[in-house]
Symmetry: C2
Amino acid sequence: MYRRHCAILRKLLSMVYRDSHGRTLDDYPRPSVAVDTAVLTVPPSGELSVIVIAAGLGASDDAESALDRLPGTFLHPGETLAEAVRRSLRTKAGINGLRPRQLRVFDEPERDPRGWVLSVAHADTVPAEQLNTRSSAARLEPVAELTSLAYGHSAVVALAVEQLREQYLAAPDPAGLLHARFTLRELHALHETIAGTTLQRDTFRRAMIARLVATGERSSGGMGKPAELFKIS
Amino acid sequence: MYRRHCAILRKLLSMVYRDSHGRTLDDYPRPSVAVDTAVLTVPPSGELSVIVIAAGLGASDDAESALDRLPGTFLHPGETLAEAVRRSLRTKAGINGLRPRQLRVFDEPERDPRGWVLSVAHADTVPAEQLNTRSSAARLEPVAELTSLAYGHSAVVALAVEQLREQYLAAPDPAGLLHARFTLRELHALHETIAGTTLQRDTFRRAMIARLVATGERSSGGMGKPAELFKIS
DNA sequence: CTAATAGTGTCTATCAGACACTATTAG
DNA sequence: CTAATAGTGTCTGATAGACACTATTAG
């Protein structure tokens, strides 16, 4: 009931409000606002990958409908951008529990042939197990092998990867890509995958160990000396 | 003529396009999109300051119309966000030659009592001389003394200051706040103002001198030993 | 001379990079 | 034993912080 009163008040205000040129809010043409999200992960293959989908236009049986874009949707009234992102990923890729971060707004007036569309690019990174691989239209694609995506989505992926790298310089596993307990070997491999370079083993160990908590437990089953299991904080 | 053809094609496409629910672009309610900009500077007073304006509602002779918001405007069709920012600063604060950078989108559906308005926050930093102080409605306000601004603009200022600090860790004077040639004393004072802390003189000198070019000229007119003038690259 | 500012020498603690060594497991 | 991986000792060079010293100007 309170929300309803607010909505009525807002409607009245928007009719009464006039800017310095005497225009009300309704006199301004408005753009459509979309969200597009780069969901990164590191699947068992060990390659930094991103979720891409095909255009949702009809049956799309032909070879033309390539996996060439990021999941996205239009912002609905009363919805925040984060909610729109979660909705688009839930309905188009079967992913839940995301905490998307904004990257930037793509605003070139001609960027979308369908009309005036602003796109707010988002990114998030999740463990591969959280991805619903049975989902019909979505696929994982290694970022290194991405050819150019539609709607300038390649730039979104590039920005997302860049920010992910910065995050992994600041903390051992900010996206929680590893299990609760992990060996330094696993963490080392993850950092090399994300950075796209090799990282010296001993230097890496000494840098990371200060930010980790030793559990006293040991890994088992692999070759060589069992390694200590660590956890975050 | 070419642009005109494009516009017609786009209009046709937007009528033909249908999403997975059979809706065209025009079937989606759209938000108004605004830009709001924090323009930072360091005036002769030596305090990091930001431009604030009063609401542009009519004559505004009363004491109610406080300087309580950042300059902003609604995005016009065919315009980029950067163009809207430049337009708003030109018309509302008499500032030209900006290169605004996007900070983030403020998207809470209820944030603006006038209706559904997304705000894309921007920031830029300019030398104080570039500001038109004769401008009627705009004033410089030290960021330390800012009380709370309307429309959540205080958060914009906080973000702008944070990013400015990061920029000044990466380069001697990325915003060009000093003249073409300057002493290390001037650069030191500027960095202390921006960082909001004191910075050790000798360490600062050694860190900066590697990124500057000595001109061989000396300062004059001040007390003490004349200092060498440096320039950027 | 003094006050004020510019600029340098140097010690120390820390740290990244690099290399080589030891330790512990499977088979 | 060998292969493989885990973990450590230690040297080097670079650098930030700190302190104290010298240098050059005005008045």
